[in-house]
C-alpha cells in the first residue's frame, strides 16, 4: 500500500522535456537498426549526415530551405490540432495553394512589380489553400463527415485537379513536362544569398530564400494568435472541451471552419518557398510529401511554434543530410529519410504514452517515491 505522502505526480518538465526526447531517441535507435540491417554503419551515417546538413554554407542553405517547408506545413497541422482537428490534408492544401500563387504570377508577372506581385500571390495562394481546407472543415462542422477521411479524399482530388490543369491547361506551349512556363523575375522571392549581397555579405548559392523569414513571421504570428488573441482562446477552448465552449458562448462550428481556413492557408504558404522561391513555375507534385511531414514536425514540436521551428530544422537536416548521405553510402537514398520520419511519427505520436511509465519508474527510483502518471486524454 502506497501512502499518500510517498506518491508524487509526474512533474511537467519530465513530461514535456524528457519524455519527447526519450521517444525521439527510440525512433533514432530503430533508424540506426535499419542502417545496420542494410549493412551501413549507423554511427558513420550520423557523422556524414551532420556534416551534410551543417558542414558548409551551401549545406546549411539547403537545410534551411527544407526547414522552411516544414515550418509552414507543421504550423498548419498544429493550429488544427489545437482546435481538436486532425488535418491530414496539408498536402492537398499546399498543392492547391501553389495553384493560387501560380495563377497570379502567370497573369500579372509582366505588369506588376515584384513588391506588388509577391504579396498578391501570397494572398491568392492563402485563399486557395484556405478554401481547400475550409470545405472539409465545413463538412465536419455542419454535415458531420469525419475530417480525417475528407481531408484524405481532398488530397487525392487536389492531385487529380492539378494533374489535369498541368497536363492539359497550364502546360507551357511546346513543353513536354507537365509544368507551367517559367515566371518572370517579378514573381520571385529573392534568395538568401541575394539578400545577403544587398548588405555586402557573400554567401554560397543555395535555394534558401526570403520565404524563411515569412515562415518565422508566421510561426510568431501563430503563437500570438493561439495564445494571445481572443480567437485563439476560443480555438483552444473548443479543442479542449466543446462543452466549455458552449458554456462560454463560443460557436464551435464556426471555430472549426475558421481554423481549417487558417490551417489550409498556412499549408499553402509552402508554395512561397517552392514555387516563388526556387522553382519559379508550377510543376507536378511539387509538394513531394512535405504536407505529411508537417504532421511529424508538429507532433515532435508538441504543436508549439518554437518546437515546430526546432523540429523543422531537425527534419530539414535529415532531408539535406540524407540527400548528401546518398552520395557517400550507396545503399542509402532519400527514402531513408522518409522511413525515419515514419518512425518519428510512430514513437513521438502513436506510441507517445508508451515511455511515460518507464520514465516515471526511473524517476521514482531516483527520488525514492512512487510517481503517478496522469492518464492521457
Amino acid at each position: 500500500m502506497s501512502s499518500a505522502d510517498n506518491t508524487v505526480h509526474m512533474p511537467t518538465w519530465l513530461r514535456v522535456g524528457v519524455v519527447p526526447l526519450v521517444n525521439l531517441s527510440m525512433a533514432l535507435f530503430v533508424s540506426g537498426l535499419i542502417f545496420w540491417i542494410i549493412g551501413e554503419n549507423p554511427i558513420e551515417a550520423v557523422r556524414l549526415m551532420i556534416y551534410g546538413a551543417f558542414g558548409y554554407q551551401e549545406a546549411i542553405g539547403y537545410t534551411l530551405f527544407y526547414a522552411t517547408n516544414f515550418i509552414f506545413t507543421g504550423l498548419a497541422v498544429a493550429v488544427a490540432f489545437h482546435a481538436g482537428l486532425f488535418n491530414i490534408g496539408g498536402e492537398g492544401q499546399a498543392y492547391v495553394g501553389g495553384l493560387g500563387m501560380a495563377l497570379m504570377a502567370l497573369a500579372f508577372d509582366d505588369v506588376l512589380p515584384v513588391y506588388l506581385l509577391v504579396p498578391l500571390c501570397l494572398v491568392s495562394g492563402a485563399v486557395f489553400g484556405a478554401a481547400w481546407g475550409a470545405v472539409p472543415g465545413w463538412l465536419q462542422a455542419y454535415r458531420g463527415s469525419h475530417i480525417v477521411i475528407t481531408t484524405i479524399m481532398f488530397n487525392f482530388i487536389a492531385s487529380a485537379l492539378l494533374g489535369y490543369l498541368l497536363v492539359s491547361v497550364l502546360i507551357a506551349p511546346g513543353s513536354m513536362a507537365p509544368e507551367t512556363r517559367k515566371f518572370l523575375d517579378s514573381a520571385s522571392i529573392p534568395y538568401l544569398y541575394e539578400i545577403a549581397a544587398w548588405f555586402g555579405v557573400e554567401l554560397s548559392r543555395s535555394p534558401a530564400n526570403g520565404s524563411l523569414f515569412i515562415a518565422l513571421i508566421c510561426a510568431f504570428g501563430l503563437w500570438l494568435y493561439i495564445w494571445r488573441s481572443p480567437s485563439g482562446y476560443a480555438l483552444r477552448t473548443v479543442g479542449f472541451s466543446e462543452r466549455a465552449a458552449s458554456y462560454s458562448g463560443i460557436d464551435a462550428r464556426k471555430v472549426t471552419v475558421i481554423t481549417m481556413c487558417l490551417s489550409g492557408g498556412l499549408a499553402a504558404m509552402m508554395g512561397l518557398n517552392e514555387i516563388l522561391g526556387t522553382q519559379h513555375r508550377l510543376l507536378l507534385n511539387f509538394t513531394a510529401g512535405y504536407g505529411f511531414t508537417g504532421i511529424a514536425v508538429s507532433l515532435m514540436g508538441r504543436n508549439h511554434p518554437v518546437g515546430i521551428v526546432l523540429a523543422s530544422l531537425l527534419f530539414g537536416a535529415l532531408y539535406q543530410g540524407g540527400a548528401e548521405l546518398a552520395f557517400d553510402m550507396p545503399k542509402v537514398t532519400r527514402e531513408m529519410v522518409v522511413a525515419i520520419q515514419g518512425l518519428v511519427i510512430l514513437f513521438s505520436g502513436a506510441l507517445a504514452y508508451m515511455s511515460e511509465p518507464w520514465v516515471a519508474w526511473v524517476y521514482g527510483k531516483l527520488i525514492g517515491k512512487h510517481v503517478i502518471v496522469e492518464g492521457a486524454v
Binding site: A4, S229, P230, Y233, A234, F240, S241, A244, Y247, G249
Partner: protein, 515 residues
C-alpha cells in the same frame, strides 16, 4: 451493524474497500442478502452504491474485503466470473448495442457455438420461455435503438436471465421509466422472486423501496449505515438515515427584500438529444433579492432546466423571459447575450463546463469573457491584465495556492469552484444561475461560498440555486421548488420546510398528500 446471521444467504460482502485516487468510494462495507428476496440499497448520489455493485459484478476490483456467493468465497476478477457465478446486472446506462436486435443483444457473449444460427434459434426459444414465465414480452427481432426505454430495460433483464442469473442487480432501474413502466417492472421483479431469483435494487426512491423490497440497506458517504426489514421501517426513518444528521450551518440569514421579477418561466419543456422529454410544464419566477432553491434527486430534470436557462441547450416548449428578453423554442439565446444582460451561470459540472482543465487559472478566470475589451491590448489579450484580474479574484475568494499560472486541473475541487464563483460574481450579475455550488468542496470553502451567495442576494441579486444537497437548499433558499420526473411537484417557503417532508416530495409526487 449487520443483523444476526441468517441462513441461506445469496450474497454476503465482508469489509469491502474501494478507493479511486483520493476518494473512498466504499469503506468497510458489510452486506448480507437472503436468497429469494428483494433487497433494496438506498443512498444519495455519490453514496457509493454503484461502485459497490460494480465490484459485485466484477467490473471493478475491491482493494480489500471479500465476496461470498451461496456461502462460498469467490474471486470476481471480471464480469465473466460474475456471470458464471450467477450474477446478472442491469446497469443504469443500458449496456446494449443499439444497432442490434433484441435477440442479438441477448445472445451477445452467451452464444452456444461458432455459427450464429443455432444459437439464435435456441435463444429465441429461451426468450419465449422467459416471456411466458415472467411477463417479459419483447419482440426479439426489434432493433433495440428503436425500442422505448422500458422495453430496452426488459431486454437487459432478459440478457441477465438468459445467462442463468440467480442474483439480479438493478441500478436505478426506474430513473428513466414512466410510473406505469415502473409498476410493470415491479410486477416482473415480484414474478422473478417467486421463481427464487434474488434481486438487489439500487435506488434513491423511497416509494420503490417500500413498495417492492423485503429488506433494505442504507448507504451514506461510502459506508453502510443501516440495515432494516422493510416491514419494520418507515419512509421517514429511511429518509433521515439517507441524508444523515443535519449539518448545522451557522448562517445569519436576514429576511429577503425582494424586488422586481427577473426571470419568468412559462410552461417550459425540454427534450434531450435523444428526444426524451426531460422537463415538462415548468413555470416559476425569480425576483431580485431572493434565492430560489430547486431541490430534487439528481436526474429529475433540474440539470437540463439550468442549462436551458443558461442558453446552453434549446428548449422545446413554452418560454422564459429573462430581464425583459423573451426566449422560446424558436429563439435560442446565446450565453454571451445572457452575460451581457447580467445573467451569470455557475455550472453544475465545473470540470467540463466551468473551466478548461489544461488552461492556467488565469485563462479559466476569463472563460466566457475572453473577448471582453477590458482584457485587451490592441487586438490581443493582455496577459498581464488577465493575470492581475485572476490574482484579484484569488485574493478576494481566498483561492489557494494563489498562483494564476497554475494549471486549473491542479487546484483542489473547492479552490476550482471558488475561482469559478469569483469569476461570475465579479461581473456584478443581476441574476445568478448556480448549480451544485459545493459538490466536492471542502467544509471551509462551503461556508465561504454560502456566505458570498447570501451577500449577493442581500445586494439585490436574484439567485436560482440547483442542488441535490438538501442541507444546502434549506440553508440558503427563501423559496424551495421541488422537482421530480421533470416536473415541478411543489413549492415550499423556506421557513416551513422540513427535510423529511422535502425528501418525500423529491422521492415521489403522489406521496405528498399522505404525509
Amino acid at each position: 451493524m449487520p443483523q444476526a446471521p441468517v441462513i441461506d444467504l445469496a450474497i454476503e460482502l465482508r469489509g469491502v474497500h474501494k478507493r479511486f485516487g483520493d476518494v473512498h468510494a466504499n469503506r468497510d462495507v458489510d452486506l448480507q442478502i437472503r436468497k429469494g428476496s428483494i433487497h433494496g440499497i438506498i443512498g444519495e448520489n455519490g453514496a457509493g452504491k454503484s461502485t459497490l455493485m460494480s465490484i459485485l459484478y466484477g467490473f471493478y476490483k475491491a482493494d480489500a474485503g471479500e465476496v461470498l456467493i451461496d456461502g462460498q468465497v469467490v474471486r470476481l476478477a471480471n464480469s465473466r466470473a460474475a456471470i458464471e457465478a450467477g450474477i446478472g446486472m442491469v446497469h443504469q446506462h443500458f449496456m446494449l448495442v443499439d444497432t442490434f436486435s433484441v435477440l442479438e443483444n441477448v445472445m451477445l457473449g452467451a452464444e452456444q457455438g461458432m455459427a450464429l444460427a443455432p444459437s439464435a434459434a435456441a435463444a429465441r426459444e429461451q426468450l419465449q420461455h422467459l416471456a411466458d414465465n415472467y411477463q417479459l414480452n419483447v419482440d426479439p427481432d426489434a432493433l433495440v435503438g428503436e425500442l422505448p426505454v422500458g422495453e430496452q430495460q426488459r431486454t437487459e433483464i432478459l440478457k441477465a436471465l438468459y445467462r442463468g442469473a440467480r442474483v439480479l442487480i438493478l441500478d436505478e432501474p426506474t430513473g428513466v421509466l414512466t410510473p406505469q413502466e415502473a409498476d410493470q417492472l415491479f410486477r416482473i421483479l415480484r414474478a422473478l422472486r417467486e421463481q427464487g431469483v434474488t434481486i438487489l435494487l439500487i435506488t434513491h426512491k423511497l416509494r420503490e423501496v417500500m413498495d417492492v423490497t423485503d429488506s433494505v440497506s442504507v448507504m451514506r458517504l461510502g459506508e453502510m449505515v443501516a440495515h432494516r426489514e422493510t416491514a419494520e421501517t418507515s419512509e421517514r426513518e429511511l429518509a433521515e438515515l439517507m441524508v444523515g444528521g443535519s449539518v448545522d450551518l451557522e448562517l445569519n440569514k436576514s429576511l429577503p427584500n425582494t424586488g422586481e421579477v427577473l426571470l419568468e418561466v412559462k410552461n417550459l419543456g425540454v427534450r434531450d438529444a435523444r428526444g426524451v422529454q426531460v422537463c415538462r410544464q415548468i413555470s416559476f419566477n425569480i425576483r431580485a433579492g431572493e434565492i430560489v432553491g430547486v431541490a430534487g434527486v439528481s436526474g429529475n430534470g433540474q440539470s437540463e432546466l439550468l442549462e436551458v436557462l443558461a442558453g446552453i441547450e434549446p428548449l422545446s416548449a413554452g418560454s422564459f423571459n429573462v430581464l425583459g428578453q423573451e426566449v422560446d423554442s424558436k429563439y435560442k439565446i446565446n450565453p454571451k447575450t445572457l452575460r451581457s444582460l447580467g445573467v451569470n451561470h455557475v455550472p453544475e459540472d465545473r470540470h467540463r463546463l466551468g473551466m478548461v482543465k489544461p488552461f492556467s487559472a488565469a485563462e479559466t478566470s476569463i472563460l466566457g469573457y475572453h473577448d471582453d475589451p477590458v482584457y485587451r491590448r490592441g487586438p490581443l489579450i493582455d496577459g498581464d491584465k488577465v493575470t492581475a484580474h485572476c490574482q484579484a479574484l484569488m485574493n478576494d475568494f481566498d483561492v489557494r495556492p494563489p498562483d494564476p499560472s497554475l494549471r486549473s486541473a491542479a487546484f483542489s475541487g473547492g479552490n476550482q469552484q471558488k475561482l469559478i464563483i469569483a469569476r461570475e460574481i465579479e461581473r456584478e450579475p443581476k441574476l445568478m444561475l448556480v448549480g451544485q455550488p459545493t459538490r466536492g468542496v471542502d467544509i471551509g470553502a462551503i461556508a465561504l461560498i454560502h456566505r458570498r451567495l447570501l451577500a449577493l442576494r442581500d445586494a439585490g441579486v436574484g439567485i436560482l440555486l440547483v442542488s441535490v444537497e438538501l442541507d444546502e437548499i434549506l440553508a440558503l433558499s427563501d423559496r424551495i421548488l421541488v422537482m421530480c420526473g421533470g416536473e415541478l411537484v411543489g413549492e415550499v417557503p423556506a421557513g416551513d420546510a422540513d427535510k423529511a417532508q422535502l425528501g418525500l416530495m423529491m422521492a415521489n409526487a403522489r406521496e405528498v398528500e399522505n404525509v
